[in-house]
């Protein structure tokens, strides 16, 4: 054995890393563009769909609706009464984004136009959007279900072991409610399918981004009414799965049906907005748990009540819930466990399969309470877990027959690796940044016996007469390294070089039966079947060699691509011709592997040994929490895993680090935020997943083990790694702050709100004393009393953005590249012209605009606007200078450089211009993501932020009817530098405006029609020091709040000239002139500054119900800026 166990490169590394590997959207050839029409309503009856106009449009080849499928057609998913989702809405839509119709056209523009031409008459109805609403009396029932509770799709009420014995033995108990968010897989390759219908044979070929081709064929065939084998799936690269691609993603069947209707190949690629806003994310769990322990810290009883947000259709919700609750009965060794779990229907995007499958959700609750018990008993958290280890080779409460379990070694590895004992017992200090240490453990199976045949895997090997070997398996490697692992196994079994092994996966015609890569079954199942095929084929090859070499088959050794015996040898390829069963120079062997000893879960059974082996892990997190801003940074992370023996250690470490990173995302930022069931943060810009600089160095540690049940001693790893991060981070934050947060993600708002509560702080704003705010306060008060509803339901119909959506989309603009300022201004003066800087803000927004400009005047080549120079002590920055160029200029003040470097990404900064940054659209995820809001759609529309999620992006000071803020960081810093903007209009008109007076509202400026920001003038004052600080949810995010502070001090350190500007707190950058005045002439301490800023904030603020914390954050940012001066 030489390849198994070694760190080999992915077999296709060269092509894949250079971008030569083709993903579905990269495939060459003519095809139509398929697009999907989705429901704008959370729940509505579909009264009528009229596709006549769309069908008649130029370039449109097919339009399909539910009528194109058999009446009552449903996805199978879990089967039986659980199958509830139609391929296209038939009569009712149950979530925003549900598929209603689909079109195929020659160009994307024609497809977009056709979608708009489809007339759908909806009758919207109120429907529950949260589990709480769904279970309240009178809530609309979304489906007819088999339980006796409204909107409960499945209920489990289960007792394992003897909870009463546990209660009797316990001396301490903790209770609490925990929630784990609905997060998106956010796979980098959006779900994409190319379908090609063959009318003559009545079959369809699919190239599709999937982890499990067999399930795609199953769903597509039954929806199209054709045989399973008539859906042929071809191999193509898939760009990340994490569960999302382990079952149908509801576009494959549409692509196939469109191709059938159009008689031509059709490509359907989901957009990022569709991925985040309509695809199936992780199920949100609300877990109420009570944990009891005895005086030694041994957990004795667990009692849980769990609500799982199913979303609008079942999918895998039932099994996600079952796997989730199993956490309670598989990790430790309580006497007994009782739980009630409900899968609750809500009119939101349905949940789907997601790495970890219910386990991270329940694990958060359990691991948090293990720490709470430890604290109550004064026992070290790692110690306490060591006292609770379940025995090896034993059965757990939930019926798992666990083989090896090296959780203890994992915990010790965390203790040693983080220097846990010494670090935690060192004095903590009382500075603004507090450090905390946290640990959490977890376990996961290696494939679940979830379906008939899920205990089986077939595989085939081909030996070619030139000595090459090919593995054929029906799974699909979406990035886990499965193909490489299988090649390693085949190479070892046949004694050939790894370079001589290739892998054919996916292809349903050319590979044998296999259910695919899900539930962490890839390594165990196909590893075992390919290993078995290899041993069997090696046996046959030995027979052939024995004959040829005149030896006994038992003496033949396969090594280096040759068979050796009796001092002689022969190339393996030369043996192929000797086999009677070989065909066309290929000796093929196919085999079928079955797992022994696992049992299938059935509805009547609540205990089962689902998996052939069980993986364990303990993760340790070290966090720094800034009490000023609520920001949590993970500074060190150790992930210790029991994976048995790794087949490819590099791949295993990759799965550990990648899974931990994804878990950290959910712990600290990721959360799909919805308004009336519609996802608000459906772009990467607003979805706070970790970027490179947000993560610590995650250290993967693999403890020694060998699992007899696993192929080559291996267990699973891919899902295990995402289980502990939530608990580990929550425990570390609790350790740092002495406050326990039970709801992920732990964003700064939650931290600062908890700290304010801990310290008993409350801000008072005396609105009753401020008549200027009464009108706004009254409007806000009316919103929940029906104003929002009226504006949303009726008012929005009158707006231009809404009406524009029923017209054909605007044509692409003409672009005029001006080279001189006067040319540009003359062109801009014509009606319908707008300026184009770098385009980084304008272009993504264009499709949402009611009347996008038909002519864009590009400024990127305007000589006067490209200048960047210092003259007479003033830095003159042309409006078309890029952010990167400005940041690189030696004279640019540091405070501005800091701000520039915090904007978006280097790629954007290389394109985005200074003028464009200043005039970019307002910061508000409702506005930016196309809600028909007051600002986009006119005065009769609501501001969605008043009742919606306004924690991060909206004004806490001075908000009016629109609660948005000005996003520009440059705009926040320039007033602190006394900068002046030169605005240029046609006919040589120039005017100068102080940067402090440039904004008139959120993202709105004093620029007149046809004017440009031609230049920014920054006086250079050598003695001026400055600092810019910013709070965002990820590196490159817009400011949730920011502060720019500049100071000129005299020789004794007295501040004689002070500027203090807060960004993203008020609608426009807010200069705190009263604070500046009070500080002038003083030598303030940080506490002085804080006190003055707090008083000013209290005097002016008028926060929305959930964004008052931003005031604390803003004051904290000023403290940080003071420290950074």
């Amino acid at each position: 054995m030489s390849w198994v166990g070694s760190r080999v490169r992915p077999i296709d590394w060269d092509d894949r890393s250079a971008g030569r590997t083709l993903f579905t959207a990269d495939l060459p050839g003519e095809r139509l563009v398929g697009r999907i029409l989705r429901s704008p309503h959370a729940y509505a009856e579909v009264v009528a769909i009229d596709t006549t106009r769309a069908r008649a449009m130029p370039g449109v080849h097919a339009v399909i609706t539910a009528a194109d499928f058999a009446p009552g057609a449903r996805y199978v998913h879990r089967g039986g009464p659980l199958s509830d989702r139609p391929p296209l809405a038939d009569g009712v839509v149950r979530h925003v984004g549900q598929e209603v119709a689909a079109v195929a056209a020659e160009t994307p523009e024609q497809a977009a136009a056709a979608l708009r031409a489809i007339r759908v008459r909806y009758r919207p109805r109120r429907a529950p959007l949260t589990p709480g609403q769904a279970r309240s009396p009178g809530a609309r029932r979304l489906h007819v279900r088999t339980t006796d509770e409204a909107n409960v799709s499945m209920r489990l009420d289960t007792t394992w072991g003897d909870p009463d014995a546990g209660h009797r033995a316990a001396v301490v108990a903790v209770s609490g409610s925990f929630s784990y968010p609905s997060v998106s897989h956010a796979v980098m390759e959006p779900n994409t399918t190319l379908a090609s219908w063959d009318a003559a044979r009545g079959r369809v070929e699919l190239w599709t981004s999937t982890q499990a081709p067999w399930f795609i064929a199953k769903e597509v065939s039954q929806l199209l009414g054709i045989a399973h084998d008539d859906v042929v799936i071809r191999e193509v690269a898939a760009g990340g799965g994490f569960g999302s691609k382990s079952k149908a993603s509801e576009h494959e069947a549409l692509a196939a049906a469109l191709s059938r209707a159009a008689g031509a190949p059709v490509l359907v690629a989901l957009s990022r907005e569709e991925e985040l806003g309509a695809n199936k994310p992780r199920h949100r769990f609300e877990t109420t748990l009570r944990t009891e322990a005895d005086a030694d810290g041994v957990l004795r009883a667990l009692d849980a009540d769990i609500a799982v947000d199913n979303g609008s259709y079942n999918h895998m919700g039932t099994s996600v819930m079952r796997v989730g609750v199993i956490t309670l009965g598989s990790m430790y060794r309580p006497d007994g466990v009782h739980f009630t779990a409900r899968l609750v229907d809500t009119a939101t995007q349905p949940g789907g399969q997601f790495r970890g499958y219910g386990t991270p959700q329940v694990s958060l609750a359990m691991e948090s309470q293990v720490d709470e018990i430890a604290a109550r008993l004064g026992i070290d958290p790692i110690d306490l877990r060591l006292r609770n280890l379940a025995p090896e080779h034993a059965e757990t409460l939930c019926g798992y027959r666990v083989g090896t379990n090296r959780l203890g070694d994992c915990l010790v590895a965390v203790r040693d690796g983080l220097d846990w004992d010494a670090a935690r017992s060192a004095p903590r200090g009382d500075g603004p940044v507090r450090r905390g240490w946290g640990v959490a453990a977890g376990s996961h199976g290696s494939g679940a016996f979830a379906y008939d045949q899920a205990d089986r895997s077939d595989a085939a090997l081909d030996l070619f007469d030139d000595g090459r070997v090919r593995v054929r398996h029906g799974g699909s490697d979406a990035g886990t390294g499965q193909n490489t692992i299988l090649a390693q196994i085949a190479a070892d079994e046949l004694g050939v070089d790894l370079a001589d092994v290739e892998v054919l996966s996916t292809d349903t015609e050319r590979t044998p039966f296999e259910l695919g890569a899900w539930s962490s079954r890839g390594t165990h199942m196909t590893g075992s079947s390919v290993g078995q095929a290899g041993r069997e084929l090696a046996g046959r090859v030995r027979e052939l060699a024995a004959e040829k070499l005149g030896a006994d088959a038992a003496e033949v050794v396969l090594r280096g691509g040759r068979a050796h015996a009796q001092g002689r040898d022969v190339e393996l390829g030369d043996l192929v011709g000797l086999a009677a069963e070989a065909r066309d120079g290929v000796l093929s062997h196919e085999t079928s592997y079955r797992v022994e000893g696992t049992e299938m879960l059935t509805p009547d059974k609540d205990r089962a040994n689902l998996s052939p082996s069980y993986a364990f892990a303990a993760h340790g997190a070290v966090v720094d929490v800034d009490r000023r801003t609520g920001e949590v940074r993970v500074v060190d992370y150790l992930a210790a895993h029991d994976v048995g023996t790794a087949i490819n250690p590099t791949a295993v470490e990759g799965q550990i680090v990648g899974g931990a990173a994804m878990g950290l995302g959910a712990a600290l930022g990721e959360d799909l935020v919805r308004e009336a069931g519609r996802v608000v943060n459906s772009t990467y810009l607003h979805y706070a997943m970790p970027r490179s600089a947000d993560l610590p160095r995650v250290r993967a540690h693999v403890v020694d083990n060998h699992e007899a049940a696993g192929p080559y001693g291996a267990k699973s790893v891919g899902e295990m790694s995402i289980v502990p991060p939530g608990g580990a981070v929550a425990n570390a934050v609790a350790d740092a702050l002495g406050v326990r947060l039970r709801e992920l993600p732990i964003t700064p708002d939650k931290v600062l709100t908890a700290l304010a509560e801990q310290e008993g702080r409350r801000r008072r704003h005396g609105i009753w004393r401020r008549p200027s705010r009464w009108w706004i306060a009254a409007i806000r008060a009316l919103y929940p009393l029906g104003l929002h509803h009226v504006l949303d339901r009726w008012g929005t119909r009158l707006g231009p953005a809404r009406r524009a959506r029923s017209r054909p989309p605007a044509a692409a603009p003409a672009v005029l590249v001006a080279t001189g300022l006067d040319d540009a201004l003359t062109a801009l003066a014509r009606p319908g012209a707008a300026a184009l800087g770098g385009g980084t803000d304008l272009l993504p927004d264009r499709p949402r605009q009611a009347r996008p400009a038909p002519v864009l005047v590009a400024t990127s080549a305007v000589t006067e606007m490209r200048r960047l120079e210092t003259r007479d002590g003033v830095l003159r920055v042309g409006g078309a200078v890029t952010l990167a160029e400005l940041a690189e200029h030696p004279d640019t003040p540091d405070v501005l450089v800091t701000a520039l470097r915090s904007i978006a990404s280097p790629q954007i900064r290389n394109t985005a211009t200074v003028a464009g940054n200043l005039v970019q659209a307002k910061r508000c995820w409702f506005f930016r993501n196309g809600f028909d809001c007051y600002k986009r759609n006119g005065a009769t529309s609501p501001c969605y932020a008043v009742l919606g999620d306004h924690r991060f992006q909206h004004a806490a000071v001075d908000g009016h009817r629109c609660q948005a803020v000005t996003p520009s960081d440059v705009g926040t810093v320039l007033p602190a530098l006394d900068a002046v903007l030169v605005l240029a209009g046609a006919a040589g008109v120039r005017r100068e405006v102080d940067a402090a007076d440039f904004y008139s509202g959120p993202g709105e400026t004093v620029l007149r029609d046809g004017e440009l920001v031609a230049e920014v003038r920054i006086p250079l004052v050598a003695a001026r020091r400055g600092a810019f600080t910013k709070l965002g949810l990820y590196t490159g995010d817009f400011a949730t709040a920011s502060a720019a502070l500049t100071v000129v001090a005299d020789t004794d350190g007295r501040w004689c000239d002070v500027r203090l500007v807060l960004g993203a707190v008020a609608p426009t950058p807010w200069r705190l002139r009263a604070v500046e005045a009070a500080l002038t002439g003083t030598r303030p301490t940080v506490a002085d500054v804080r006190r003055l800023v707090d008083a000013e904030l209290d005097r002016h603020a008028h926060p929305l119900p959930r964004n008052g914390w931003k005031l604390d954050a803003a004051a904290g940012l000023v403290e940080q800026a003071y420290d950074a001066l």
Partner: protein, 161 residues
């Protein structure tokens, strides 16, 4: 006649039709068959479409082709220059699915050309921040960051000797 626009792509001059304001990524992928640059968001938010324009990394998906006046380099054109980096990626697990990888490699190529600051911690921090516009959902980034630093070290050592 449709407005034509000259582009220099991987050293070759091509005339492309820019009617309808196509993005650089669309021109590369759909008209020139250069599909290494991926489109994962189409909004300038993920870096999968990163290409070099005038040596600087930009988001191809929101760069109007008509505004591109400097030479364009794509992952295909940089395959030889990035060979050592890609090998290091493969050795350390810096890609899994590989969908973000061409964008990462292109961006890292520009960073390596510019040179990294001295000091191993500074290096890591620099790369971590610089590459924050390139989302990777698979790897957790650290192997990517480490690879860029390793290759920078190796190239410097080679140059010194």
């Amino acid at each position: 006649m449709a407005p034509q626009h000259p582009l220099v792509v991987n050293g070759e001059t091509v005339e492309v039709d820019v009617t309808g304001m196509p993005s650089l990524a669309t021109v590369l992928r759909d008209r020139l068959g250069l599909t290494a640059a991926k489109v994962a968001c189409g909004r300038g938010e993920c870096g999968a479409c990163t290409v070099l324009v005038g040596g600087r990394p930009v988001m191809g998906c929101i760069t109007p082709a008509v505004l591109v006046r400097e030479p364009v380099e794509t992952s295909e054109g940089l395959a030889a220059e990035s060979a050592d980096l890609r090998a290091c990626f493969a050795d350390t697990g810096a890609f899994q699915c590989g969908f973000c990888t061409p964008g990462q490699v292109v961006h890292a190529t520009a960073l390596l050309r510019a040179g990294l600051p001295p000091g191993s911690e500074e290096r890591q921090e620099h790369v971590r921040h610089a590459m924050s516009g390139n989302i990777c959902r698979c790897t957790g980034y650290q192997a990517i960051v480490a690879s860029v630093c390793t290759v920078a070290d190796a190239r410097e050592t080679e140059q010194a000797s």
